[in-house]
Amino acid sequence: MESTSLPSSKANPRRLFFALVPLALFIALVALLVFGLGNDPRKVPSPLVGKPAPEFSLPELTDPGRRVTRADLMGEISLVNVWASWCSSCRAEHQALMALSDNPDFQIVGLNWKDEAANATAVLRLTGNPYDMNGYDPDNTAGIHWGVYGAPETFVVDRHGIIRYKHIGPIDRRVWEQTLQPLVAQLKSEG
């Protein structure tokens, strides 16, 4: 059959542009959704970053006569680590914390969260104690003020008591090398 040219098949850049816009929008939407799928919904950003660490006063886990308070965070860079004996990822994290416990650049302050003292001290006795001190918070009294919603979580607090970062989930080598170590170095240089 003889082919006839239809009027609409004439090349028209303007039409082509308008035909491609929906496609481009669709691709952009798909890209956005794919990006969203890759995000972990459990990682909720903390509104406390950049704010002063909340006031708290908790008994020390292994030395109940002593109190751990916000004042203990002043003057030193601190990793405030939320943990519990019932939390299995905390156990995995424990080894990483042990490796960091000798680092003189910061102190590690534990927030023993919704735990039982006997179980928590047993963990420290059996697997080592990376903490310089441990606030014992079985009833989530301090935890609520820190916006804690799971364990492990780790807050990086600078020398002036300002929360500079919150890490949700266990600290491992990668997290330390890529995120926490550079941050600690930066805080150290800030003086």
Binding site: M1, F18, V21, P22, L25, L29, P41, R42, V44, P45, S46, P47, L48, P54, K114, D139, N140, G143, I144, H145, W146, G147, Y149, G150
Partner: protein, 162 residues
């Protein structure tokens, strides 16, 4: 097969048990039904951060329990709904609210669907208008002539279109 049926039955039983075990307000006492209603409304607005698709009202998670207690304590201490919400937002972020608040970082979330519908509508209207603007065109004289020729020749030739 029977094990499959057993599993199914067990799941149904467990589902039933879960809904029976759902959280009630009985552990809290209130001064007035109004206060109770207010409490119920408030914890319905708040999200349980552990089990993210449940509200504080519906969740059995321990953290939800803690936060319910906290909300209850604050209410009993005479704090307003807004004060309690602000307290929780300051610690857990906007995410603790089921309805995201309207602010620049959520404009896309709130208005995005309407923008998409708007863009779609523009394209649809354009397409419809174009269709109207180009009605079926009649045949030109030359085409009419060609058609007549083809019809006249048809009887003498075999069908070539198949």
């Amino acid at each position: 097969m029977s094990s499959l049926i057993k599993t199914l039955l067990l799941s149904i039983l467990l589902l039933g048990a879960a809904s029976v075990g759902a959280y009630t307000l009985e552990e809290f006492t209130f001064d007035s039904p109004r206060q109770q209603e207010e409490f119920r409304e408030l914890i319905g607005k708040l999200r349980c951060l552990v089990c993210q698709n449940e509200s504080l009202a519906g969740s059995q998670a321990e953290l939800a329990q803690d936060l319910r207690n906290e909300v209850y304590k604050m209410m009993r201490a005479g704090q307003s709904q807004d004060q309690i919400l602000d307290f929780l937002i300051a610690r857990y972020g906007d995410f603790v609210l089921y309805d995201p608040p309207l602010k620049p970082s959520t404009y896309l979330l709130w208005f995005g669907p309407f923008i998409l519908i708007g863009i779609g509508a523009v394209f649809m209207v354009r397409a419809l208008l174009r269709k109207k603007a180009t009605p079926d065109q009649g045949l030109s004289d030359a085409e009419r002539q060609r058609l007549a020729d083809m019809l006249a020749n048809r009887d003498g030739k075999t069908d070539q279109t198949s």
